[in-house]
Symmetry: C2
Subunit: 471 residues, 2 copies
């Protein structure tokens, strides 16, 4: 019944599966990877890469416009879409397949399903894993049960990322990262955009983040309706989408983008065979082994769950981080080496808990790491919150006329270390890694006074925040 | 003979003097500051601020040009110069004077001179310092003894920063930061620029830095002549400058910018009265007290030297960093509090030794901190040098088509911490603070693996460097 045997079998060839298999190979084991769609996954074709390609022109244009003396025009939409196509590799995975091959990772195309202890079936072929099976199937857009919604074939993050034309009128349902970024992109590309954000815009971030992004979207002509809920949706014969809100208000649009959340890709992968509920998130232990409802390991711990499916941090970079830990711990266990599962050890994804960085490529950009002030308080930390107006930094004013932005640092007063950092402002994406190192490194504030920001950069906000905290 | 008494008297109201006096006041002491020119100093009117204003348009234009679909034209030189004027506060220090006033710092305008123990004379007024006199007079451009050079009234960094018109032909003597930045700025503003760089371009940085900046300057039409030395200079009646090189080659130009180094502003401040040589750099101890040739403190240690004059790190941000240490240690000593002069203590400028960050706003930008590979080796460290092609990072490609850049990390193998980091590439300025925190915080490599860069940012180079180092 078993056709092939590998040390490790990975279901899902997104960035997580790829990185994981690579670590396994580098550790001297063999690995196979199973993929039902394009090798490279969501990030490469329908998320990070194409959406950032859509957004980069907007950012570069805005940046140039904010410097007097620079002569700028508008955006050439066709050129932006062409560039996006190229960053999505024209939805062709030849390059990624070649990489798998060069890395020595076996590829099986098709739907992978757990077919027994350590066994994965794909298109009738049985793959047996000597040491571990890893589920790295990611997540998909959640389309809620709203009357008529599925019938109108709504856009999800995929269609928004890959669209070949810009709709005249776009209604976006949701207020998270996808909704905010796509509102930014499509308004810039010429759509009339309406955002229906029931729970607010970027409401899990520090409160000033959503306020600024909403203000900026509105200045760009986007209608943002906080609290709005959709009651029903229909589409005309001419293609017009009619959206009825719960308060009775009606909206017409050419497309509707649903961006209210994600659902794990565990529907068709045979998790029922090991006692788990298909379509549910996977619960994992510190080294990312899947546990059942009883909290016990599946089997003897041969099943791992990495990336979006474990719901720890639905971000490509965090999934890849987990992939490194999982790949290495599988190797360590296979070889009988010491498992480094202490806090910040090599085989655990400690940063998932309280040191997750995220950049939202809206205008202005949002970059954050760690806990918000509210989350830190909820976690029982004795904190002090330090705020600073990014526009008051010399480097910001030089960077852009009319620069508007804000920075917040959340300090754990008992340990005198930073546990959270949020920036909102034009082009702040590259500033957050400094905070990530400070949070992860648990660098004391007293020492951070010696980390001098170069003048005149926007990073001088670090000095300003320390000064505001007090010496 | 003494007209006024303060706890602290500072000679020089640049950023260093201002910050220092502010710390003194915040510590509960009184302070006077003496300034012979504009309050705000070199950085505000003739260096950092105006030069970055000159350069920002070039950077924004280049960034926009590197994104297909963004419609850009050229630079409006008059608008760039107007913006520069505004960032130099139109060479009016009213704003800074108001700030001194609001901070409670007394201002005396005129040439300050040490006139005795703890006494500074300014325009006939004697200022006595109860606790300390601080020399924070900065540095000036060094104009070498080249035949005819002074007679042609060459530009120095000041004139280059403050010029009201763009010369048709500009010869730049030197290859350091000023030379490189001004070659970038003036070529972009329309000058035909020739750089005569005897010792190379940015030759104190990692070798790949100068190579890339030279390549980029040449692509922008700048003629860069490494090894070239000037023998003599003259100016015609029509204003044309004739430059004769030591190899006999002649060059004509409309202006010549001398940017070969700095000389301390200690010529006219009465240091001879305490046994020091006028015009020399000040030697200081760990808490920045001036010592004589014999290594002994001046007097009982009442004389401090902060900023450029002590030659530790000729950078505004580093001078301000020293200012905080000096201001606070003067207060601590005055109050009989514990002096925290241990390594990384509050009262010492430990970062001056091995953790100085610097950004050079050329195209591409250069950002570095700590030791170069060569300097680390010379310091006797057992190092490993890790290189990575910045263009191979997904975030770089998204940021700009044809992105070219390079990153180097220098690891102290005995401590497994980073001691040096250099980036060269478009818009890398804000990336260096992460490295500064890593170097200053002495964050071990094992921990840095948990500092996950957000995808897709240029900062992902951190992950690539760690991968190149090996896990």
């Amino acid at each position: 019944m078993t056709d092939h045997t590998y040390d490790v079998v990975v279901i899902g060839a997104g960035p997580v599966g790829e990185n994981l298999a690579d670590r396994v190979i580098q550790g001297g084991l063999t690995a196979a990877i199973v993929e039902r769609e394009l090798v490279g996954g969501e990030c490469s074709y329908w998320a990070c890469m194409p959406t950032k390609a859509l957004l980069r022109g907007t950012a570069a244009l805005r940046a140039a416009r904010q410097v007097p003396g620079v002569d700028v025009g508008g955006l050439d939409v066709a050129a932006v879409l062409r560039r996006r196509d190229s960053f999505a590799s024209n939805w062709n995975d030849d390059g990624q397949v070649s990489w798998l091959d060069s890395a020595g990772i076996a590829l099986y195309r098709g739907q992978g399903r757990i077919a027994g202890d350590r066994v994965v079936e794909v298109g009738g072929t049985m793959l047996t894993a000597r040491h571990a099976v890893v589920v790295a199937t990611g997540s998909s857009a959640l389309v809620p049960d709203i009357s008529g919604l599925r019938d109108v074939e709504p856009w999800t993050s995929r269609e928004a990322a890959a669209a070949s034309a810009v709709p005249g009128r776009l209604v976006i349902v949701g207020g998270g990262v996808v909704a905010s970024e796509m509102a930014t992109a499509y308004s810039s590309l010429g759509s009339t955009v309406t955002v229906l954000a029931r729970d607010g815009v970027l409401h899990l971030a520090e409160p000033f983040v959503g306020e600024r992004v909403v203000k900026s979207l509105e200045e760009a002509g986007v209608s943002v309706r906080i609290g709005a809920e959709v009651a029903s949706v229909s589409r005309d014969g001419d293609g017009t989408v009619h959206v009825t809100q719960t308060d009775g208000e009606q909206l017409d649009a050419d497309e509707i983008l649903v961006a209210i959340g994600r659902t794990p890709n565990t529907q068709d992968i045979g998790v029922d065979l090991v006692g788990l509920k298909p379509g549910g998130w996977l619960t994992v232990d510190d080294t990312l082994r899947v546990v059942g409802d009883d909290g016990e390991l599946i089997g003897d711990g041969w099943l791992y769950g990495a990336g979006d499916v474990n719901r720890r941090a639905l971000l490509t970079h965090q999934g890849k981080y987990q992939a490194r830990a999982v790949g290495d711990v599988i190797v360590a266990r296979a070889k009988g080496e010491v498992v480094q599962d202490q806090r910040w050890g090599r085989h655990v994804a400690t940063a998932d808990e309280r040191a997750v960085p995220q950049v939202v490529f809206t205008e202005p950009e949002v970059a954050s790491v760690g806990l918000t002030a509210a989350a830190a308080e909820a976690a029982g930390l004795r904190t002090r919150v330090v705020d600073y107006d990014l526009a008051a930094v010399a480097g910001s004013a030089l960077h852009a006329e009319g620069y508007q932005g804000h920075a917040r640092m959340v300090v754990d007063e008992d340990r005198r270390v930073i546990v959270g950092f949020t920036l909102v402002g034009p082009d702040v994406a590259e500033l957050i890694h400094a905070a990530t190192i400070a949070v992860v490194g648990e660098v004391p504030l007293d020492r951070l006074w010696h980390a001098v920001p170069a003048f005149p950069t926007v990073s001088e906000v670090w000095l300003r925040l320390l000064e505001a905290y007090g010496r």
